[in-house]
Symmetry: C2
Subunit: 810 residues, 2 copies
C-alpha cells in the first residue's frame, strides 16, 4: 500500500529510515525521579512558540520575587539543543536573568552558572573557536565531544538578602538548526541513544541533591525543556513524548491562527502517553484562543495568556518580561501548588488505601501502612513507585508478578494499546453483542480461531474473566456430555429443570480455575474452598494426583504420585497449576488422559487462562501437549494485560449441542459487557503483536516459540542452591519453591517475606505464594533483563540462606 | 485555579465564552451517510498546509485520467469557508480544473459547477456586489443570507469521450479570514449551530443520489474539506473533529520544521475520536519528515510526499500539478481501494459473525444472516448501522437496549472517556491490586463510598462483572452470618473445610443475579437454571413472591401475591427485577423485609448491578427504599457503560468478620484484573459526570434525582393501549408488557419480533424479553429524545394491534 514519492533528499537519510525501523520496538528503561522538589517538563505545541521565554519568565518569578527571602535554586535543563552554539537556550536564561535582576527594586544576590556537557564535533569546534579554547582530541569519544564547559556569574544584591542560584545546563548539542534526529544523524552518526539521554538527564536531576538535603531547606524548582513540538523526534528518532520521563508538564500553546487545533492536539498526544499537564500558556495574537481552549479543558487545566512579543527582533524583551511578570507568577504558583498537592496525595495514599480498599486474597491485619506500595505509573514491565525514605523519589521496580500474571506489553506496545483504547472507546464505546457484529469483536474472534483455536475450534464465546470463561466451558461440556450419552433424550418435550443424573468433573489435584462457585466446584478441596470461604462448595469432581516435573540440583525430576483412576465423567486440564503453587504437570500424562477421555466421548476442557498466549513460551499449550481439547478457556494475557476479557472456544460439535428450534436450548449465559469493544481491540492488537517477529524480538518465527528467556546456567545454579527445593522455568515463568517445613510451608506461609522485601530494594517487585516465589516477565521481555533478575535473586538467596542458618543455630 | 490574563480583545468575545460553556455538553445527532460511493473527509494538521490543493489534485486525477473512459462525478463540499468571497476553495477547484483538463493530451468532456448556499450578510454583500447582483432582503433570514448561487462551465473534450462532472459546493461562508467560530460570532451572531451544519451537509451528500442510482453506474468520488486544523472550532465553537460525521479521512500533514510533531498529534486527535485515516500526504520541505512519520505509523497508513510548491505566489501551479500527478494518482487509488475493502468487509460481516461468534442468550438457528446488525460505530446513544437495502448507507439507530443496560455516556462524555482510557492505559496499563494503591483505584473507591455507599459502606471490593460482585457479596454475607450466629466458634482451631450448617438465601421469585453458579443458586428456578443450562443448580434459597407495582390503563396498580414467609437465613434484594421481565417490586414490602432481616442479624445484600447509578432516576435505590444494606453490588453503569468493572461495597462490620491473624481468614477471592486502572478511571469520570448538573442537564441538584424523562401523558396513553398489559416507567427505563397468552408469553416468546422490526426501521434499536419490551436511555438523555421514542412506539403499537386483530380473525 505504501506509495512514497521520493523527492530531493540525500541518500544518507535512508540510513535514518533503516535505523528508525530497526529500533522501532526498543524502549529504554525509565529513570528514577527525585520528588523532594518540583520538577516540570516544558512542552510545546510546535517549534518557536516560546518555551525558553516561559522558562526564563519562571526563573525570574521564582528567584527574583521580592516577597520571599529564602535561599532558592532554579535548575534549568535543556537535554537536546540544536543550532548550537548560535542557539543556546540555557545560555539565554544565564544571560537574561542578571538584567532582569538589576531591574528589580531590590535585586537579589545571585549565583548563576551555565554548562554544556556533550556536543557534536561541529558544534564543539564552533564553540571552542568562539571561546578561543583548544580542541582536545582525547575528549572526542564515540562521535560526541565531552565539552564539559561551565561559566559562572555573580550578581551582588542587597546586603541582607540570601543567596539564590540559577543552574543552567545543556546536555547534548548539535550545530545544525534542524530537528534533533537529523542533526544527530548528520553530525554524530546517531550514537546518542535514548538510554544515554535518559541516563545523563537522570544524573543531572540528582546532581547535588544529597548535599542540598543535608544543607537543609532550600527551595528548588527544576525545569526540563524539550526541543520542538511534543512529538518531535529526539536524537535517536524516538519521539520525545515517548521517552519515559513522565514528569508533570507545562504546555506552551499556540496563539496564532490554527493554534487552537495544534494546542489541543499536542495536549492529547501528551495525555495519550500518560502525562499530566498542569497548565497551558501561550502568547497572545489577538485571536482569543484561550476561550475555546478553556472550553475544551472544562476549566480543569488553567490557561494563561502572555502579552504579544515585540515585533522588533533586536528588542531585549525587558519590558515584555516586566509586562508578563504577573502571568509568570501565576504560572509558578500553579506549579508549586500542583506539586504540593501531588506530594500530599502520594503521602496519604497508603493510609487511604488501608482504610477504603478491600484487597482480594489479603489479610488486611497483616498489611501495615508502610507495606503498601504506591504506584505512580507503569511503563512496559516497570512500576514507577513512590518512595518516601531518606528523601522522596519515584523509583523503578520490575513487575515480576506481571501484574497478577496478566501483563504482556513492553513500553511500545503499551503506548500503541493506549491509542487503540482511545480510538475504540470513541468509535464503539460499548456495543451489545447478541445478534450484532462490529469490527473489534469480529477481528478478535478471527484471530482466536486462526491462532490458539486453529485446527479444532470453530466458535468463540466471550466473557469477562477466567472464572466466567470456566463457568461457560462447564456448561458447554455438561451439555455435550449429556447429548453424547443420551442423558437428555428430548430437549423440549420434558421438564428440563428435573435432575437427570449427577455430573462430575475429572480434574487434577492442586488445580485452580477461579473463585466463582462453579469454577470452585471443579477444583479439589484447598484453603480456598473451605466452609470459611464458601459454605456452598462441595467439590464436584474426581481429583487425580498427577505426576509433576521440576528441576532440582541442576537436573529435571519427574515426580510420580500414587495414581487414582476411576470412572470419569469429564475432564479439566492445565499444564501448569499456577495458583496451586506453580506445579508443572507431566505433559505425557496429560496427553494420555486427554486421549482416554476423548475415546470415551468425555469432553475435554483446557484451562489456558494462565498458560495461554506465550506465558509458557508457546501461543497455546496444545502445542506442548500434542493434543487438542473440545473446549478451551483464555483470559489474562489475551488482551496483552491491560483490560479484562475472556474467551471460551469450542468445537463445532460442542456448539451443535445447543442448536435447535427453541431459545431455551441455547446457552443462556451472558454478561452485559460480552465481547466489549475495548477488550476485543486490545486482544486483537496484542495477539498480532506477540506473534509478529517484527514487533516481538523473542519470537523464533519458523518454530512459533519464544527463545529461552531464562539463562540455563543461572537456573541450574539456583536449582542447586541449598535454600531451593525445586525450580520450574518455562516461557515467561520462573518459579522457585523454597525449602520449608512446618508452618513455613503452604499458602498461608510468610516465610519468603524477608527475601522479597530485599528484592524490592533491588528494584524487583515480587509476591509469594506461600513458600513458592516466582519471576514472571512478558512475551517481549529481553533475556538480558531476565538474567539480571535471576542474578539479583541468586544474590539475595545467598543472604537469605545465611540469615536462616543463623536463626536455626540460635 | 484559573488565572487568565485578559489582554486586548474586545468585549463581544466574552459572549463566545459564555455560549461555548453553555453548549459544552450539547451534541447534535449524527447523520445518515451514503456508502454507495467513497466519501472522504480531508483533514489538516494546521491551517494553510494545502488541503484544497490535495482536493484539486484528487479531482484532476479522478476526472482527467486518460485510462478510464467511464462517466465520472467528483463532488467537492466545503461546509465552512471563511475569508469569503476572496477565499473560496470550491471556486479554486472550479476554476483550476478546466486549465488542468486542457493540458491533457486527450481532454475530457467536462461539466463543472460551483455553488454557494448560505453566507453571512457581509460575505453576501461582498459577493453580490462583485457579481453585480442585487441584494434581496427577503433572503436574509436568521442572520444568514440564502445566496443559493450556482455557476456552471463546460469543457468540450474528445468527441468519443464520456461526460464527466465536477460539482463544487460551499455550504456556509463568512467574510473575515479568521477561525470560523470568530467569524460566525462577529458576522452572524453564532446562529449556525452544529445541527444546521450537519443537516445541510447530509442533504448535500444525499443530493441527486437517487437519480444517480437509477441512472446506473457512474463512478463517484466525494470529498468533504474541513477548515483549519483537525481540532479547529467550527462556527458554533464545537471542534470540527467532535462533529459526528465520522467519515474516513485523509490527513494533510506538515512538511516543515516542527511538522512531524504537529502531524502526529493531529493524527492522534482524529484517532481519539474514532476516525479512520487512510493516508497522510504533505508538501516536501526537504526535511524528510516522511521517515519518522512512516516509523510512527508502522507502515500501516501510507505516507505520500508532494513536491515543494513554487515560491512565487503568482504561479498558476500548472507545472506543480503536472509534477504531482503520480502522487495524486497513488492517493486516489489508496482511497478507492480502502473504500472497496471497507464495503467488502461490511458486506461479509453478518456471514462471518454467524460462522464464528457464539452469542450469549441466542439461539443461533433463529438468527438468519439478514437479521444480524452490523454496527460501524456508536456515538453517544446512537448506533451507526451499516445498511444494504436499495442502496448502501450508514443509518442511525437509537440504542434503546442501552447496550445491554450498561450504556450511559452522551457523545461528549464518550469522547472524554476515550481520552481518559488512552491516558490511563498509557499511564497505568494494568497494575495488580493487592497491597497496592494507584490513583484511579483510590479515586474510584472514594467516589463509591462517598456516593452510593454514603452513610453505611466503609469498604470497596472490586471485581469484573455483576456475577462476580454477587459471588463476592454472598461470601461476605455467609461469613458475617456465621460470625454473628456463632456458626464458626474458632476460625483457626478447627477444620474449616467441614460443613457446619446449611446456609440458604432469602430472595425474591423472578429475580436474576447473574449466570455463574453461585449467583444462579441465589435465584428461583427459571428457564435459566434448568438441568439443560446448569446441571449443578439446586436453588439454595427461600424464594418469596413479592408484590409488584405497575401502570395499567393510566393507573398505578399494586399486585399482591400470596406471601410466603418462613425462617430466613439471608436476604437478597432488588427494586426492579430486570432480566426477570422488568417487574418493579413494591418498595414498602422491600423496606419491611430489610428491617426484619436486620432485626434478626441477617445480612442484607442490595443487588444494584442493574438499578444503580441513575438507572432508576437516583444514584442508589437505597434512596427510594429508605433503608440501607449491609452489602451492595454495582456494575454496568458504574463505568458509564464502556468497560466492565464491578464493585461490592460492605459495612465495617462485614469487613471485620474477615480480619484476623491468618491469611486463611481473609476473603480468598479475586480476579487478576481486580480494580483495573481503565475500569476505575472510567468509573471515576462517569460517577462525577452523571451527578454534576454542569455536565448532566437532567440532574435536579437540590433533590439529587433525575428529572422525569418519560412524558406522563404518553406513558398513560401507552398503558391504556389495548395491546399493553402493564407499563413500568422509572428513571431511564420504560418497560412495556404486551398482552399475550400461551406460547406468546414468557421468555422464549418471539411475539414482539415483528413490532421491534418495524421500530428498527424508525431508527429505534430494541430487543425483547419475551413479550416484554423496553426503552432504555442514559442518565444524560434528553426528555425530547425520549418523547420521540415513545411516539414512535405508540404509532407502531397501533399498527401491531391491527395486524394481531387480523391474525386472530383469520
Amino acid at each position: 500500500m505504501l506509495r512514497l514519492r521520493r523527492h530531493h533528499y540525500p541518500d544518507h537519510h535512508r540510513r535514518i529510515l533503516l535505523r528508525l525501523f530497526h529500533h522501532s520496538t526498543f524502549h529504554p528503561q525509565p529513570l528514577d525521579l527525585p520528588l523532594c522538589h518540583p520538577t516540570y517538563q516544558i512542552w510545546s505545541a510546535n517549534t518557536s512558540l516560546g518555551k525558553t521565554l516561559v522558562s526564563a519568565g519562571l526563573s525570574s518569578s521564582f528567584l527574583l520575587s521580592p516577597a520571599s527571602s529564602a535561599n532558592k535554586k532554579f535548575v534549568y535543563l535543556k537535554p537536546i539543543q540544536t543550532g548550537y552554539p548560535h542557539d543556546s537556550d540555557s545560555r539565554f536564561l544565564f544571560t537574561k536573568l542578571p538584567s532582569l535582576s538589576l531591574r528589580r527594586k531590590f535585586p537579589s544576590f545571585l549565583i548563576l552558572s551555565n554548562s554544556i556537557l556533550f556536543s557534536s564535533l561541529f558544534a564543539a569546534k564552533s564553540f571552542l573557536s568562539s571561546r578561543d579554547l583548544p580542541f582536545q582530541p582525547e575528549k572526542f569519544n564515540s562521535e560526541m565531544y565531552d565539552l564539559n564547559f561551565r561559566e559562572e556569574n555573580r550578581i551582588s544584591g542587597e546586603e541582607d538578602s540570601s543567596v539564590s542560584e540559577l543552574v543552567c545546563k545543556t546536555l547534548f548539542a548539535w550545530e545544525e538548526a534542524v530537528s534533533p534526529h537529523l542533526a544527530a544523524e548528520r553530525e554524530s552518526g546517531g550514537v546518542v541513544g535514548d538510554s544515554k539521554v535518559i541516563e545523563t538527564l537522570g544524573k543531572c536531576l540528582r546532581d547535588g541533591l544529597e548535599s542540598e538535603i543535608e544543607r537543609g531547606k532550600r527551595e528548588i524548582l527544576c525545569i526540563v525543556e524539550t526541543a520542538g513540538g511534543v512529538a518531535s523526534p529526539g536524537p535517536s528518532g524516538s519521539l520525545q513524548c515517548d521517552l519515559p520521563f513522565r514528569l508533570p508538564g507545562i504546555l506552551v500553546g499556540d496563539g496564532r491562527l490554527g493554534g487552537i487545533s495544534g494546542t489541543i492536539s499536542a495536549y492529547e498526544s501528551l495525555k495519550l502517553r500518560g502525562y499530566d499537564v498542569v497548565a497551558v500558556v501561550f502568547e497572545d495574537h489577538g485571536l482569543v484562543n484561550e476561550v475555546p481552549l478553556m472550553s475544551y479543558l472544562r476549566n480543569r487545566v488553567p490557561v494563561l495568556v502572555l502579552p504579544p512579543l515585540p515585533q522588533d527582533s533586536s528588542n531585549d524583551l525587558m519590558e515584555w518580561f516586566d509586562e508578563s511578570h504577573n502571568v509568570f507568577d501565576s504560572l509558578k504558583n500553579i506549579m508549586l501548588l500542583a506539586y504540593s498537592e501531588r506530594i500530599q496525595r502520594l503521602c496519604d495514599m497508603p493510609k487511604r488505601a488501608g482504610e477504603l480498599f478491600w484487597w482480594p486474597f489479603t489479610q488486611h491485619k497483616l498489611v501495615p501502612e508502610e507495606a503498601v506500595t504506591v504506584i505512580d505509573s507503569r511503563c512496559g514491565e516497570n512500576f514507577s513507585v513512590y518512595q518516601d525514605q531518606k528523601n522522596k523519589f519515584i523509583g523503578q521496580q520490575f513487575d515480576a508478578c506481571a501484574s497478577w500474571w496478566t501483563q504482556g506489553p513492553d513500553a511500545t506496545l503499551q503506548i500503541e494499546l493506549a491509542r487503540d483504547m482511545g480510538y475504540t472507546a470513541a468509535r464503539f464505546g460499548h456495543v451489545m453483542f447478541p445478534e450484532n457484529v462490529y469490527e473489534p469483536a469480529l477481528e478478535c474472534a478471527e484471530l482466536l480461531l486462526q491462532g490458539v483455536g486453529k485446527g479444532w475450534a470453530s466458535r468463540a464465546y466471550f466473557s469477562d474473566n477466567g472464572s466466567t470463561a470456566i463457568e461457560i466451558a462447564l456448561k458447554m461440556a455438561f451439555r455435550k456430555f449429556s447429548f453424547d450419552h443420551d442423558v437428555l433424550v428430548d430437549f423440549l418435550g420434558k421438564d428440563t429443570t428435573e435432575k437427570c443424573v449427577e455430573l462430575k468433573v475429572l480434574a487434577l489435584k492442586g488445580s485452580y480455575h477461579g473463585d466463582t462457585l462453579g469454577a470452585m466446584e471443579a477444583q479439589a478441596p484447598s484453603p480456598y474452598t473451605g466452609f470459611l470461604q464458601q459454605p456452598w462448595y462441595s467439590g464436584r469432581g474426581l481429583f487425580l494426583d498427577p505426576p509433576t516435573v521440576f528441576m532440582y540440583n541442576s537436573k529435571w525430576i519427574l515426580s510420580l504420585p500414587e495414581l487414582l483412576y476411576s470412572e470419569i465423567v469429564e475432564h479439566k486440564d492445565i499444564i501448569v497449576h499456577a495458583a496451586g503453587g506453580m506445579h508443572m504437570v507431566d505433559p505425557l500424562f496429560q496427553r494420555i488422559l486427554v486421549k482416554e477421555c476423548q475415546n470415551h466421548k468425555i469432553p475435554v476442557i483446557f484451562d489456558e487462562v494462565f498458560t495461554g498466549f506465550w506465558r509458557l513460551g508457546v501461543e497455546t499449550t496444545a502445542d506442548l501437549l500434542g493434543c487438542v481439547p473440545d473446549i478451551a478457556c483464555y483470559g489474562k494475557l489475551l488482551t496483552g494485560g491491560v483490560i479484562p476479557l475472556a474467551a471460551t472456544l469450542a468445537t463445532n460439535a460442542v456448539f451443535d449441542s445447543f442448536v435447535g428450534d427453541s431459545k431455551l436450548k441455547a446457552l443462556l449465559h451472558g454478561h452485559s459487557y460480552s465481547a466489549h469493544a475495548l477488550g476485543c481491540a486490545a486482544a486483537a492488537k496484542s495477539i498480532k503483536w506477540f506473534k509478529d517477529p517484527q514487533t516481538n524480538h523473542n519470537i523464533i518465527p519458523e518454530r512459533r516459540i519464544l527463545r529461552e528467556l531464562w539463562d540455563l546456567d543461572l537456573i541450574q545454579q539456583i536449582s542447586s542452591h541449598r535454600t531451593v527445593q525445586r525450580v520450574v522455568a518455562l516461557g515467561t515463568l520462573c518459579a522457585i519453591e523454597l525449602q520449608a517445613a512446618g508452618c513455613n510451608a503452604g499458602y498461608g506461609s510468610l516465610y519468603a517475606a524477608s527475601l522479597l522485601k530485599k528484592l524490592r530494594e533491588d528494584g524487583v517487585y515480587m509476591r509469594p505464594l506461600g513458600n513458592v516465589i516466582y519471576l514472571m516477565c512478558g512475551p517481549c521481555s529481553s533475556p538480558e533483563v531476565c538474567s539480571q533478575l535471576l542474578l539479583k535473586l541468586y544474590q539475595r538467596l545467598e543472604e537469605f540462606d545465611k540469615v536462616e542458618e543463623k536463626l536455626k543455630s540460635c
